[in-house]
Amino acid sequence: MAQSPPPPRGFPLGSLAIIAAVVAVAATAFAYTAGWLSPHRLTPKKLVASLAPAEGPALGHRRNHTKGICFSGTFDANGNGSALSKAQVFIRGQYPVIGRFNLASPNLNAVDAMVRVRGLGIQITQSDHQEWRSAMIDAPIFPVSTPQGFYELQMASGSKDPDAMKKFIGAHQEFLSFLGWAKSAPWTGSYAEQRYNSLDSFVFTDQSGAKHSIRWSLVPAAQTVPISPDELTKRGPDFLEKEITERVAAAPQRWSLVVTVANPGDPTADPNKAWPADRQTVEVGTLTVQQIEAEQDGPCRDINFDPTVLPNGIGTSDDPFPAVRSAAYSRSFNSRTAEESHYPRTTTGGKQ
């Protein structure tokens, strides 16, 4: 490089144009990848924004399933799950659990008796620190078949157009089977009396490397006592949290974790389609809820119950929803943790 630069030969327009073109192409490709040139792309931002109630999201809180209460307890594996998955969590033994009971509503002040769907988030930690996180609901099927359908449902239910829901149902007939459940299923007076379902399918990999398409459910040991919504309304807006706190203080509450194995050809990509009732089920262990704590200072507060956080031996399937949920939950988590001042802890020093 000892040579001296050539003498200036006038304004190097051509060279500068090449440089500008290279930079412009690279910047455009970046902008395209970031979605800035595709306003119709369904982004996590758009999806999460579609969940917000009319008055805006509850700052500092989860963007959906906003009202909830923490629990801690254990998962006792009975060893039966090891035939289906090599995950350590199925080896006979006890594993610590942190979880959260919640209402499927973005409204922090939702009245318990008005919210049809109840949920449970759970994190089971293996001794090797791998975790199994899951967020389940009590509905036996998901309202829609596709992520786009879910977004359209949010847009329709928030729409001022009186025909919006009619149009939505016209385009998403599968929503009718969900409505059928919503209208006919009994209401109960306790989080402890609900069955919670993964709805999404996942893939278990066993010791031999064989894969099994499965779904799972937490089946309550407590007896389900149907109660009319009118009766529940009389119990006050927050009766579920009061009830579960008293109930668990009196005695630990249990659920049996049941894995359902798909037959070849069962719909694994559509959580709106239940599998036939005769499918093989395996009871793999027991969830015991031992302590209830308010979310504000509770151990579940900082946990994102991302359903794609899975130990080795459990993986995602061709069901598109876990990826969508992971992307959206992450967005919700980033927002709410940045808004901590709107939901201050009452004790100093975070848990965990």
């Binding site: 490089m1 050539p6 060279s15 970046f30 956080v309 992307a327 940045a338």
Partner: protein, 186 residues
């Protein structure tokens, strides 16, 4: 630190171009994954984490090589502001190549996410769980990614300026070894 060499050493040049591909892929995967809910989201996040740790290791090796072997001197006739810009950009590149993966690792730790790379390897958390820390690190990771990309554009524009307009041999210091028909000019 400079050396009398007219080119970076072969391992330095190899790492430069390998990392150029890695870092550009990383930035595109990053902005792509946070703007999609498609199933590829999970794959992109997995690649992003694994590649990030890969870049961290490569950057540390590269820093060691740089300390050992130094860099060829810039042409003597380059103006002082341009020289300063060149030095500062090199510091910025090293800071980002090493800092961005650490910020990512740190923000995952502060958010209580398990950090799994290459599908099997579990990395330990490097920070305690904290909403405040997570927010700080997440924002830094996010905004610095755009700074990083802007710096790369500037770098590309500058090196093309050296190559096409000044023709002063700066591009050649990092260029791949192409079989030379004639010896180095004196």
């Amino acid at each position: 630190m400079t050396t009398s060499r007219t080119r970076f050493t072969a391992p330095q040049r190899l790492l430069h171009w390998l990392m150029a591909i890695c870092v550009l892929s990383m930035l595109f995967i990053g902005v792509g994954m946070v703007s999609t809910v498609a199933s590829k989201y999970l794959t992109l996040v997995q690649i992003h984490k694994s590649l990030g740790i890969g870049i961290l290791l490569l950057a540390l090796i590269r820093l060691a090589l740089r300390i050992c072997y130094g860099a060829p001197a810039l042409p003597a006739d380059i103006s002082e502001p341009m020289k300063l810009g060149a030095y500062l950009s090199q510091y910025a590149f090293y800071a980002l190549m090493i800092g961005m993966p650490l910020l990512g690792w740190g923000m995952m730790s502060a958010a209580a996410y398990p950090i799994v790379i290459f599908g099997v390897l579990h990395l330990p958390p490097i920070l305690p769980v904290s909403a405040k820390l997570h927010t700080l690190l997440w924002r830094a990771h996010f905004y610095l990614a755009f700074v990083f990309f802007a710096l790369i554009l500037l770098h590309v524009a500058a090196i093309l300026f050296h190559k096409l307009v000044r023709r002063d041999g700066v591009f050649e210091t990092m260029a791949p070894e192409i079989r030379r028909a004639k010896p180095e000019p004196k």
